[in-house]
């Protein structure tokens, strides 16, 4: 009698014992980290001693940052970078996914190859793109020289550098969104197309009236993937341009990192982090509203 009660207790406790290590590691450490950043964003610390007791300054750090030209620049660059990646990324993903899907088993190997950029590290990808667009030895300028043109300093021009960084990011991000769209295409029932053909529907109305609406949730997942990945991009931009030239490619993640580790201004960096988290949250809500019926 006593033992069975004891066992019942144990059994009731079991799920919690199974969940606790993960909760402690994930929610505990991350939650604690976010609380620290939240506190720091309201405190000021003497330079070089961020573990010293700071002074509470209310929203001073926020006000200072919002008025800072470099912060406004980082927000602007981030939005251009994300918008460019999402737009180009979704177009390229669509083209590749539709081609692979259309060719069926003949294109099976390409499904495997598509994922390669996703697997290699951001640093390695950055090195390759830096090399591709290098002024003296890059492939692009070599082609221009071979054709008799004047080589271009891609990475020292504000706009061109941002373009190169965006292209490298699309290259790294679009394999996964292609796979997500491919997953969607594979579940659409071919009978629907048969019915459409019988009804005399031509390819563009088939695409816009059947394929696109049925792909809804997969399209949403792809867009979310491209948006969130780019919003917090650090791995590619930092080794590629370090945010330069003259802050032209300095997205919020890079700006935050440099504030903390170059300028040792942990309070301002924490404010940027809170903004980043709020933007992430905002985008989650935005996407879940748009795709409410589909996701």
């Amino acid at each position: 009698m006593k033992t069975s009660l004891f066992h019942k207790r144990r059994k009731n406790l079991m799920p919690y014992l199974m969940v606790i290590p993960t909760i402690l590691l994930v929610t505990g450490v991350l939650g604690y980290a976010i609380l620290i950043a939240l506190k720091d964003s309201f405190y000021k610390y003497p330079l070089l001693s961020f573990n010293a007791k700071g002074t509470f300054v209310g929203f001073d750090n926020y006000a200072k940052l919002l008025a800072d030209y470099n912060f406004q620049n980082a927000v602007g660059v981030t939005f251009i970078f994300v918008f460019g990646t999402v737009l180009l990324g979704i177009i390229l993903s669509f083209i590749l996914a539709l081609s692979i899907y259309h060719l069926k088993n003949k294109a099976r190997i390409f499904r495997t190859l598509t994922l390669i950029p996703y697997l290699i590290s951001g640093v390695a990808a950055a090195i390759m793109w830096r090399f591709l667009f290098n002024g003296e030895v890059g492939f692009i300028n070599h082609v221009i020289r071979t054709l008799g043109g004047t080589p271009i300093s891609w990475l020292s021009n504000r706009y061109l550098a941002l373009m190169v960084v965006t292209l490298a990011n699309v290259w790294k991000m679009f394999p996964m969104s292609t796979m997500l769209l491919l997953a969607g295409l594979q579940v659409i029932d071919p009978d629907i197309y048969d019915a459409a053909t019988v009804d005399g529907s031509n390819w563009h109305s088939t695409f816009f009236k059947i394929t696109l609406p049925l792909l809804g949730s997969y399209l949403a997942t792809s867009l979310i993937w491209l948006t969130f990945g780019s919003f917090n991009m650090f791995n590619i931009i930092y080794p590629l341009t370090s945010g330069g030239p003259n802050r032209a490619t300095e997205v919020m993640a890079i700006y935050m990192y440099d504030l903390a580790f170059q300028h040792l201004d942990f309070s301002s960096a924490s404010v940027v982090m809170i903004f980043l988290l709020m933007l992430n949250l905002g985008f989650s809500i935005f996407y879940s509203r748009i795709f409410r019926n589909k996701v």
């Binding site: 697997l119 930092y238 988290l277």
Partner: protein, 287 residues
């Protein structure tokens, strides 16, 4: 683009044009996808002077492995390789061993606060790694864990767990309940059920988790950049980053060789399991 199957019988000319368009697009996309890789790989066989030659030549003049020999025989290379392999193996083992339990609990058991606890594990998936680097750095400094494997293993594992729990609970859920004897009374029986029944059946899910965790840990950059500053702690991606930064005159063949050396292992692992990975992603997307 139309579906080929439906038009194949009806209109062969239409079918041929559609196929031609698909192949053209596919070729263009593969050029875009492989151009940076090919330019980088062929350069690893060139000499530094060769990279300056115009007109542009993609293939090297002679196939020479001198860059690879230089990288692989470098005195500190084994250290970077060891760090990367060690962190990847430990993180992956820990992630799998820790995540199977909550995955099982969430997919098989009913308990109070279940949904709240699940949310607590899933919401962090929305929190990007880079955004928590700064407070984590403070925690690590105060704990005296700067330049330690412990700090990296904890942070790597912590960021891999939510995805692992998500994938595994999905796979566990798809296993019929009748297969296991759910009337276990103690932990020992639960452990038996897990390793004798659940894991073997859910092996494809476990492989997916392993590949994704290996990829994350092998390629990790912001954490190792922030939480270590001693050269003996560097991983391959960190050293690659330092490498491109410290050379006065950039020896591009050598830099590219280092880059290629760091990505070959992960690509080998991928190609061994590629079928499971791609179908894992597609199944994951279907959920």
């Amino acid at each position: 683009m139309p579906n080929s199957k439906t038009h194949a019988g009806a209109n062969p000319a239409y079918h041929r044009i559609a196929n031609l368009i698909a192949w053209t697009f596919l070729t263009l996309m593969m050029v875009w996808l492989f151009l940076p890789l090919i330019w980088s790989v062929t350069t690893t066989f060139k000499t530094a002077i060769e990279t300056y030659r115009v007109p542009v030549k993609i293939l090297p003049e002679n196939l020479s492995f001198h860059n690879y020999i230089k990288i692989l025989t470098d005195a500190s290379f084994p250290r970077y390789l060891f760090n990367t392999v060690y962190l990847t193996v430990i993180t992956t083992l820990l992630t799998v061993i820790i995540s199977i339990w909550p995955a099982y609990a969430f997919s098989r058991m009913k308990f109070k606060f279940q949904h709240i606890l699940l949310l607590f594990i899933m919401i962090p998936r929305l929190i990007p790694r880079i955004s928590v680097t700064i407070p984590l750095y403070k925690i690590i400094v105060s704990a005296g864990l700067l330049n330690t494997y412990t700090a990296l293993i904890i942070t790597y594992t912590m960021t891999s767990l939510p995805f692992a729990v998500w994938i595994l609970s999905g796979v566990f859920q798809s296993i019929p309940k009748e297969i296991e004897d759910s009337a276990f009374v103690d932990g020992a029986q639960l452990i038996q059920t897990m390793f004798r029944i659940m894991i073997p059946i859910a092996s494809s899910g476990v492989v997916t988790v392993i590949i994704f965790t290996v990829r994350e840990a092998w390629n990790e950059f912001p954490f190792v950049l922030s939480f270590t500053n001693s050269a003996t702690m560097r991983t391959l991606p960190y050293q690659l980053y330092m490498f491109r930064d410290t050379l006065g005159i950039e020896d591009w063949p050598l830099i590219n060789t280092f880059a290629i050396v760091t990505i070959i292992p992960i690509l080998v692992v991928y190609f061994i399991f590629s079928k499971k990975v791609t179908s894992g992603i597609i199944q994951g997307a279907l959920k």
